[in-house]
Symmetry: C2
Subunit: 482 residues, 2 copies
Amino acid sequence: MLKTSEASLDPENWQDFRQQGHRMLDDMLDYIENLRERPVWQPIPPAARAVFAAPLPKQSGDLREAHQTFMQDVLPYAIGNSHPGFMGWVHGGGNPVGMLAEMLSAGLNANLGGREQIPVEVERQLLRWVRELFDFPETATGLFVTGTSMANLISVLVARTAAQGCEVREQGLPDGHRLTAYTSVSAHVSVAQALDMAGIGTNALRKISLNVQFQMDVADLERKIAEDKVAGMTPFMIAATAGTVDVGAIDPLQAIADIAKREGIWFHVDGAFGALGMLAGDIAPRLSGIERADSIAFDFHKWGQVPYDAGFVLVRDGELHHNTFASPVAYLKRETRGMAAGSPWPCDFGPDLSRSFRALKTWFTLQVYGSEKLGSVISNTCALAQYLRQRVEDSHELELLAPVALNIVCFRYRSEEPDRVNADIVIALQESGIVAPSSTTINGHFAIRAAIVNHRTEIRDIDALIEATLLFGDKITNKINM
Amino acid sequence: MLKTSEASLDPENWQDFRQQGHRMLDDMLDYIENLRERPVWQPIPPAARAVFAAPLPKQSGDLREAHQTFMQDVLPYAIGNSHPGFMGWVHGGGNPVGMLAEMLSAGLNANLGGREQIPVEVERQLLRWVRELFDFPETATGLFVTGTSMANLISVLVARTAAQGCEVREQGLPDGHRLTAYTSVSAHVSVAQALDMAGIGTNALRKISLNVQFQMDVADLERKIAEDKVAGMTPFMIAATAGTVDVGAIDPLQAIADIAKREGIWFHVDGAFGALGMLAGDIAPRLSGIERADSIAFDFHKWGQVPYDAGFVLVRDGELHHNTFASPVAYLKRETRGMAAGSPWPCDFGPDLSRSFRALKTWFTLQVYGSEKLGSVISNTCALAQYLRQRVEDSHELELLAPVALNIVCFRYRSEEPDRVNADIVIALQESGIVAPSSTTINGHFAIRAAIVNHRTEIRDIDALIEATLLFGDKITNKINM
């Protein structure tokens, strides 16, 4: 009946397996070492797509063949965010130390939901480092999550508990609760989505207008809160942004903190990419006020260059955080000895019971590079953005569409039909494989958006962006024939 | 101003880095190859814990040293779920192919939120394989998530949309909505937590009693739905369980599907570990009815042996699933060409915009082992559980506390003080490092709970569990002196 010796998924021949593993590691290191020789991105040929149309494989296959498929049909058709020429969206570049750490993590196969194990202790060390970075008290709690979208959701739920008490967990949102929240019109969609998921609804989110720096307009915030209070609403959360997704603006955190304190409203900072500016000596002062937040959401996989995914949420009031998620059930019972010791566990602070060891790749990245080096990477992306801004301003054919606060530059090629022409330019740039910005809409105008996040990006990549933009712009507007 | 050549996180000396990478891979393969020689688990010595008390490192460190710390102070103090003797909680054992794939994934550093890239296509292939496995229509949608807790939340949110319309996203839960949901008293806590997070509240979750097989009592389900309807409530979701966390029972899915259909209620299956029983010829028939579900939540990292984390949610009504999460914002704008093509994207079906390439380790695992081999692993764990049941029943000193439906065996050592003695036995077993069950409460009694999930577990590990339980039981009750 029992065929246990055949059941294991471990290789029959470890030596063969080892050789193949080393080949895979070498191929991956070759890929990273020679990234610059490749196109940033290229369209997916139908033949590559067709490879992934096969039905569920019943029989065992060969690891070598699977790896070959990966090399031929996956690797060349990624989105390109590890490439120095990638400037589309705020994606980090990853790093080879983080890759090796993730291999260790996958081999260890730890579940970070809880229990008495050192991996949880490593995550706790990361929490202490994050507290230190944001000057939060020792009672603050935190947790790795997939990304800031999830961190924003957790923050909204803790703020909901602060406003409604723990009864909200059992009773649900009470009829006529009239909760309202506040964020700028430039906030990331995940803030609204968190209110949606939490049952509060996105209509409860007041969109505050922007000042000329594309920051939340504090006067408008005060006005909307006052109006809501007059109307009998219960303002419960302000979600400021440290680094908006469109232009990289930082909301006036000190002024918002003052208002939140005066009004007794939860002060959340969505610092998806911007919060880690705290690592950079020249950026940190501009985040002043973040240390007063009730909760902060951010990603190590953006400016922190940790491989995807590694989001984090930090909550000042650890007890409230715990009481928003902890649950007493038999199979999660805690002991003082054995494997069920070590309470409280990560699962007491968020929705996940199955959680990979995200802390390890983050620990290796911080341990090996150090916070100063990671900070210098961040400073450098901002310096490159200023260099790009200057090159745009120096060109008669280009114009800037938004101030450059951090590492994002929104600009366009001047034309009589700017929206159509610049949309065509972005596609041409992407399809060229030279450099890959994305696009957004600024004050109703189509913008080429270069988000410089990758530690591999250099001046020559900025120059290539300018030159290719001018070339494709001239071509699309028929100034030159190609 | 710009010091770009110093900014990159790539190694200065690739050859050195490569050598170190190969050493790390070898060490990890050694670890997996020789797992059986190690203790399953061991208490964390204070010295190891102290290693992780250091503050945030400012300066760069040595990768060799970081790796040495990992080898000395992390690897020996994991929870042990990759070890053949691990039987505590339903944790998968991981697999070496999945480990290599995760390394590729971390090196590629893809963000699976969306865009035109083959990694998204690989995830779509996995979705097609999952549809095939559960006999779902081509219009069904799905998505990788961390784990079933998140998959349950997504399912509750789609069911909420089904009941309340898409307006619930903007307007929030309407006053006096009176939604109610149904699950058995043995359901996983994440079902209740999903209702909590969604703003509905856990009081809205009716806990259905169990029959003698520890399955949801269908008569009680019908009664409670009828009572709620009389009371003016709106029953909107039944969450059945395929493989309960305590004893591994499968709710009567066909009967529940009939009731859900008749009453027009969303039929969800939490199949965290059990749903992948569909891969095993002898288990699949017992999941009959799962193919009628409106949504299924499960983990590839449990019975599927994919490294943590790799949960999945499958939703029959793809349009409803899309409309519960999709959002039109400028920086997520879709194009028909370039990098912003390929809509709809994974971020249109769940809360995450930053998502690692979970599909790759799952794809490699299925591609290399094949579904039949993975199915035989699942069958084997159930056969081992029956073997353990038989050994318990054959022993005068032991007694079974619940029927063995799948791969979980709850039993105890007979004693006049059974709760205290068996609690001590579990701690002693765990601290022995021989074999590591966990505990739970069955009908108010403390139970030793052996969850056999790992593909490496063999008859000798079951024998070791029995022998060590008897030995520690005799010792704790002073039948023998040690």
